[in-house]
């Protein structure tokens, strides 16, 4: 495959574990990250439980210095980026940091940070008496740019606010950048935080969906490089991203409904990856109890892949991670491979759908950390 991406390490911050090993063990053991979140915030919450990191303290991961002004989204992203870089074994120095960057998906940055900043303009004696140090937190590229400052990534720095599919979009965008020479190493993934603000926003947006999974929060980032270069250097791969497709289909347009659109993109992605449906052993879907979205995904997956592949529903144990949904799906697939040489070389598919009609597909091949044939 020409121009494919190698995953050479990854980092994750999720309710079931921080770091690839802890996260992977929890996944294999079937542990759920669902917690009582009643005491997390001063505000009342619409649901009592969420897949949240209730005891997360940024200082445990990043120390005390310079962490005071990081919001939760940013703290997750900076932490996951550090874990991913360490996992890949890449050493950043003045030779390579100009060629190293990050593409980070989300939904809107931190709605909590935006709303709390805006709140100051309403409740203070003077509307401009906001805290200047918190102004950058109200801009949605905050987390990506803080990752760059923290880890000294001087290459491409981009934020992809594409909602549930945003990690697929980040892979698509980042893959294009790598292939076309705009970077050599990119951290690709997504982040979403849990907050009272987001919980209520989602509650109102999906009030007609009682089967909706509890909310989750997470950040997951993959270290990606040109696969050929990695192989030429004799370095191991955790995975090879064989194909990435995204598209958008008007949910109200029956002629090109999202299910058909996702099926088309899934078929095209398999073709581009050079694999057949029969070779796909696992499909990690984004299903999270939003009936109209789940129906799209199920129909497309069954139409193209049949019922053969194992179905991995990350939301079952990680919750509805919003803008980080596809990112945790990718992390879950990588986690299955990490300690299981029996899966070496197997092909998996990640599918993602958004209520608005966005669809995304990733086809990847994974290896264990113990596997010889990477």
């Amino acid at each position: 495959m020409a121009g494919t991406l190698a995953v050479t390490g990854w980092g994750v911050v999720a309710s079931t574990g921080v770091g690839a090993d802890e996260f992977g063990k929890a996944l294999v053991d079937g542990q759920s990250g669902l917690r009582d979140v009643g005491a997390m915030f001063a505000e009342e919450l619409p649901q009592p439980a969420a897949h949240a990191l209730v005891d997360f303290d940024v200082r445990d991961h990043l120390g005390r210095k310079r962490t005071g002004s990081l919001d939760r989204t940013t703290a997750f992203a900076v932490t996951a980026a550090g874990l991913a870089l360490a996992d890949s074994g890449i050493r950043l120095d003045d030779e390579n940091r100009d060629e190293t960057g990050i593409v980070l998906g989300n939904t809107m940055g931190s709605f909590r940070s935006i709303a709390e900043f805006d709140r100051e303009t309403l409740v203070n004696e003077r509307p401009y008496l906001v805290e200047p140090l918190l102004f950058p937190n109200s801009v949605m590229n905050c987390a990506a740019s803080r990752c760059a400052i923290w880890h000294q990534l001087r290459g491409v720095n981009a934020t992809i606010p594409a909602g549930r599919i945003s990690a697929v979009s980040a892979l698509r965008y980042g893959g294009t950048l790598l292939r076309r020479g705009h970077a050599r190493t990119l951290l690709l993934g997504a982040v979403e935080e849990f907050s009272a603000h987001r919980a209520w926003l989602e509650h109102h947006a999906h009030a007609d969906e009682p089967s909706r999974a509890p909310l989750g929060e997470a950040a997951a980032l993959l270290v990606t490089e040109d696969a050929r270069a990695v192989r030429a250097a004799g370095r191991p791969l955790d995975a090879e991203i064989l194909a990435t497709k995204t598209g958008h289909f008007d949910p109200a347009d029956r002629a090109t409904a999202p299910a058909d659109g996702l099926a088309q993109h899934l078929g095209a992605a398999l073709d581009a990856a050079g694999v057949t449906a029969e070779q796909v052993t696992t499909v990690a879907t984004g299903e999270c109890g939003l009936s109209r979205v789940d129906a799209v995904e199920r129909a497309a997956v069954e139409a193209v892949l049949g019922t053969g592949p194992d179905r991995l529903r990350a939301a079952d144990t990680l919750g509805d991670c919003g803008g980080a949904s596809a990112a945790v799906q990718l992390a879950a697939v990588l986690a299955l491979h990490r300690d299981d040489p029996g899966r070496d070389g197997q092909v998996s598919v990640v599918t993602s759908c958004d209520p608005e009609g966005g669809v995304g597909v990733v086809v990847l091949r994974g290896w264990s950390r113990r596997g010889a044939l990477r």
């Binding site: 509307p127 906001v130 958008h248």
Partner: protein, 402 residues
């Protein structure tokens, strides 16, 4: 084996004009879009001026979308995209479908929707948030609006790089078409003005009082702006085959990150970005005839930008003007509007001015800001700068089609 990529349609939605004819006339005349802000209550703010888009009637511009279902940034973006397609003269049916996509930038997303939701929370509690607004709040609604308006089913790429976002989208669209992934793309960005942005800029000491005067000795800062930019991109072959008017070719782009400060710009990071863009586009500094500056009008930005440009170009760089003097800072739309001004300049032979220019800044020796009046010029290669909070830098290059 790259395909050559050209720009054949422009869709500006701005405070100095909606549509390419009005916008182009405004640029040539050096018109100011600044007026007292009306979209939020400015009581208690010492500074109350901004560049709002007036007379925006989405219902008369949009063919498919019902404007009532979308937030303002989405309406801006979809209207701009529709204008760009109409300007290109392409048959809208020909470009519907999977070979067409959009890459849309934004700084603050559906900011007025978020502002309204925040007001509901603060005044009446979380339970009072409007479900209608909650559904409009996700940022990718903006890209969704463009796709639905135009019937595109290819990539809908949303990019936020704060105020440099549109240049990222132009680069992405160029890459996808040049590399053969897609055939037609809309690139650009949209943002709507909000109270919290106004407060933030003011409180950080970055906001001017009445006028934005980039590169002037006495410049005091930005004025907030809003609007949208959309550019229609296709291959050179496709444009020639259908006999389209070609504004300019996309030559390439570069991205970099300062990785230094959340807010303050950095000349090293910007200079790196410019050099990357030149290398990607295959041009040298001597080739560049004009620079459409980021030019926010803050003392720090303009000095930093000038230092980076002088680092790359030497002591007398090509003329470099700031259309933010007319449009305010339109955030996610800004570098896309800069791109529109750049390619209009190439096609029609002029450099837009920096208005409100009064006094030369001794710290900016060698910088020619095209003061106060547009200047006729043949522009073969134009550089368009976009920088942002978080040290997100993006530079695009456009060229006359030989």
């Amino acid at each position: 084996m790259d395909r050559r990529v050209v720009i054949t349609g422009l869709g500006p939605v701005t405070s100095i004009g909606i549509g390419v004819a009005a916008f182009g006339a405004g640029l040539r005349a050096g018109r100011s879009g600044v007026s007292p802000i009306t979209s939020f209550d400015t009581t208690g703010f010492p500074h109350v001026m901004g560049a709002e888009v007036r007379d925006f009637e989405p219902a008369s511009l949009l063919r498919r979308l019902d404007p009532r279902q979308w937030g303002l940034a989405s309406r801006f973006a979809a209207a701009a995209a529709r204008l760009a397609v109409e300007d290109s003269g392409v048959d809208p049916d020909r470009i519907a479908g999977p070979r067409s996509g959009a890459s849309i930038g934004t700084c603050t997303g559906e900011s007025q929707v978020l502002q309204s939701l925040t007001e509901e929370w603060v005044r009446e509690g979380f339970g009072a948030m409007s479900p209608h607004e909650a559904a409009q709040a996700p940022t990718h609604q903006i890209g969704s609006a463009v796709h639905r308006e135009l019937g595109f089913t290819g990539d809908s790429m949303m990019v936020s790089a704060a105020c440099a976002a549109s240049n990222y989208t132009i680069g992405n669209a160029y890459d996808l078409i040049a590399g053969g992934e897609l055939d037609y793309m809309i690139a650009g960005g949209a943002d709507a003005m909000v109270r919290w942005g106004h407060a933030g800029f003011y409180r950080c000491g970055l906001m001017a009082e009445d006028a934005c005067s980039p590169f002037d000795r006495d410049r005091t800062g930005v004025l907030a702006g809003e609007g949208a930019s959309a550019l229609f991109l296709e291959t050179l072959d496709s444009a020639v085959e259908r006999g389209a008017r070609i504004y300019a070719e996309v030559l390439g782009y570069g991205l970099s990150c300062d990785a230094r400060h959340p807010v303050a710009p950095d000349a090293d990071g910007i200079a790196r970005c410019i050099r990357r863009a030149h290398a990607n586009a295959g041009v040298t500094p001597q080739d560049v005839d004009y620079i459409c500056a980021h030019g926010t009008g803050t003392p720090a930005n303009d000095l930093t930008e000038a230092n980076a440009v002088r680092d790359v170009f030497g002591p007398t760089p090509p003329p470099m003007s700031s259309i933010k003097s007319m449009l305010g800072h339109t955030m996610g739309a800004a570098s896309g509007l800069g791109a529109i001004a750049s390619v209009l300049g190439i096609r029609e032979g002029f450099m837009p001015p920096t208005i409100n220019y009064g006094h030369e800044d001794p710290a900016l020796t060698g910088i020619d800001p095209v003061p106060n009046a547009a200047r006729p010029a043949r522009l073969r290669v134009v550089q368009n700068n976009g920088f942002a909070f978080g040290g997100n830098n993006a530079v695009t290059l456009f060229g006359e089609v030989a």
